[in-house]
Symmetry: C2
Subunit: 448 residues, 2 copies
Amino acid sequence: MSEKTPEVVIIGGGFGGLNAAQKLSKYPVHVTVIDRKNRHTFQPLLYQVATAGLSPGEIAAPIRGILKNHKRLRVLMGEVVGFDLARKKVSLRDGSDIPYDYLVVAAGATHSYFGHPEWEELAPGLKELEDATEIRRQVLLAFELAERRAAMTGKAEPVHFVIVGGGPTGVELAGTLAEIARKTMAGDFDYINPKDTRILLIEGGPRLLAAYTEDLSESAKRQLMKLGVDVMTSSGVTSIEPGQVKVGEQVFPSTVTLWAAGVAASPLGKALGVETDKPGRVIVNPDLSVPGHPEVFVIGDLANFKDQKTGKPLGGVAPVAIQQGQFVAKNIGRAVRGEPMQKFHYWDKGTMATIGRAAAVAQIGKLHLSGFVAWFMWLFVHLMYLVGFRNRLLVLIEWGWAYLTYQRSARLITGSNRLPGWIAQQEMHEDKLPSAEQLHEEASKAAD
Amino acid sequence: MSEKTPEVVIIGGGFGGLNAAQKLSKYPVHVTVIDRKNRHTFQPLLYQVATAGLSPGEIAAPIRGILKNHKRLRVLMGEVVGFDLARKKVSLRDGSDIPYDYLVVAAGATHSYFGHPEWEELAPGLKELEDATEIRRQVLLAFELAERRAAMTGKAEPVHFVIVGGGPTGVELAGTLAEIARKTMAGDFDYINPKDTRILLIEGGPRLLAAYTEDLSESAKRQLMKLGVDVMTSSGVTSIEPGQVKVGEQVFPSTVTLWAAGVAASPLGKALGVETDKPGRVIVNPDLSVPGHPEVFVIGDLANFKDQKTGKPLGGVAPVAIQQGQFVAKNIGRAVRGEPMQKFHYWDKGTMATIGRAAAVAQIGKLHLSGFVAWFMWLFVHLMYLVGFRNRLLVLIEWGWAYLTYQRSARLITGSNRLPGWIAQQEMHEDKLPSAEQLHEEASKAAD
């Protein structure tokens, strides 16, 4: 044991960083957790915020609060901009340096628009709470504006949602939007019929949920189509424009386009100056350290760790980050005691994706589940992993309420009043309203 | 009864507009509710969103959802920009006109900075959900940045909150911020002690809660001071600057300044082209109609209605708007049946303001209550008036949880990463971090 207490700096308060921090508090080290945000976000439920089912406060908690009972641990809100691996220092945006003896980089991932940065404005992705409330705003605004336009022109035009990317996020968004349109919103409008909403899910690869087995991909597709989602596979989007999406020569109208296709690692991966793969993930050693720096570890979505069983890199999912966070803490504990580091092995407990009400797929070893059973398991597992008893209870109530009433609780359009560019454009061409009397005629007849 | 069904247009989905709409559905009229937002916000609990106790979704609900079971009623999201009272038309931002036979203007109020619009940037007010999340952001950021600065300089400087305006909103904000600092945040930081936070409430008039009796004003002041709030009365703020607030020659440091002083009526009051008072409220007839236009009514915060008992205009509180909304609906019902309109009488069921945990004041006729009893009544009444069973249940759980644990559930810094101007300025002058080791020394000694 060295004389001075070793300093461990963890970058990122996601699943990886939090689990590393919690585990490290058992070892004789000082821990500093640095994050740009003050909160941990439960990313697997972000799509429910985007679709107005949960509130941001229900899936997020302050990092400082989560870690408050851990000893020798501090939390700093700040933005890391670079590293000096030789001098063992982390640089923050404000110019200050933080020294470390061990460094854990768990900075996660962001969207990638495959070399089309101009698509970002037209097709928001879903990585942060702010993304989720922006998507919620656009989805709800789409119905409100369609209603007003129909009231003005007397002609109802359906809302079109196009989701690009058929991974878990795309599947979840498509299924939930279908439920909103067909159930939640069904009776709320006078001029449009939300049931006419078209939802199109476009996947570039040959099947949805590529990380799952083929039978589950097929099942997910069937369950989505039963909800009224159109699914296109082997279809690469070639252009995203205001109001439409193109796949080669085919043009699809789109009121709101959502991006669930590309993921890129945090730029902090490249900032380490070690080898990265194409999406920018750091290629790590079997003990999760980076080549040449046994005291620097990269975990979670930012790490490219080759699975011994499959020979492929592990996917960017929460269980990988959690296990790597805990493992890296143990390895640091070993190093501090002068013991050799061990190799990381991922224990795959299974994966699951939800599609909608009582619709999901789950793959647990050789067990493949679909429909209600998979959905119920999904609910249970996600509730269990949510941080904090209070959040669990609130989410349980929201879900129970939603299941019984088909209502979504967080139907709020917040933030700027700015409309997505192309919708604002359409607004310019709106005609005068016909008399409300004229348009109410039918409703009136029914009611009198 | 006239042959064609009369058209009633209601502007605003607040307490006044919603109650008018709900009541009107009993009469043979068509109703159009127009609001810039898609939601009704329960304004009396906005300060709890601003202080991280509740989430936006828990105090707001979509107007369309609230009114979905009412017949002959439509909801349009849109911005009203003007009126043509002669031709009985309302103009929307997009250029369309909506004709009416009866018009109810319930557009509410906004902040007024008493001729100092430049203060708005430095001292946010609290009227909308977006204001509340902005205040929450600034309050939480203040602690985070103070912690980081203390970690860097080794010198802890207390956070200062200055609240301008000692009405119910100012009192609620001051009391709740005191609780956050002394209880919620108490154990969460390593370098600063949130208990050192200074909270200063500045009121221009001679006492807090001017609408209440003197003994209750005095009680509110005592309860606030017990929570550790400094209260200054008869003190007009003369200048708000980055980092400080001036009252004449006195200068008070202020990390975050909040504005709870001035209220101005919606500009739609003036747009009606009838007489308004100084804050821009429309001076209405005893039946709530505007002079010269018996078919046009103004209600709620936008109306200046002289109370028969006191001879003073009714205050801008929810019960007034609710009663006026219901009353105006009945008057329209009478007009449709060819009966004469009646005069509005306000039934004052009492008023109450909360100060903190088990701290409040209530004035119900001759009954004056303080402390726990008033607070418990406040909780009960506010829960009852919250729209929707689900919201009530969630808020009840949040409050129960907060009461037991002292925790605030919605401690999220969301929105832009932009810092309030003056904080960003300070960041430029930050020094280098000392080694974490050095600063952890004490904690380490205690733990080893």
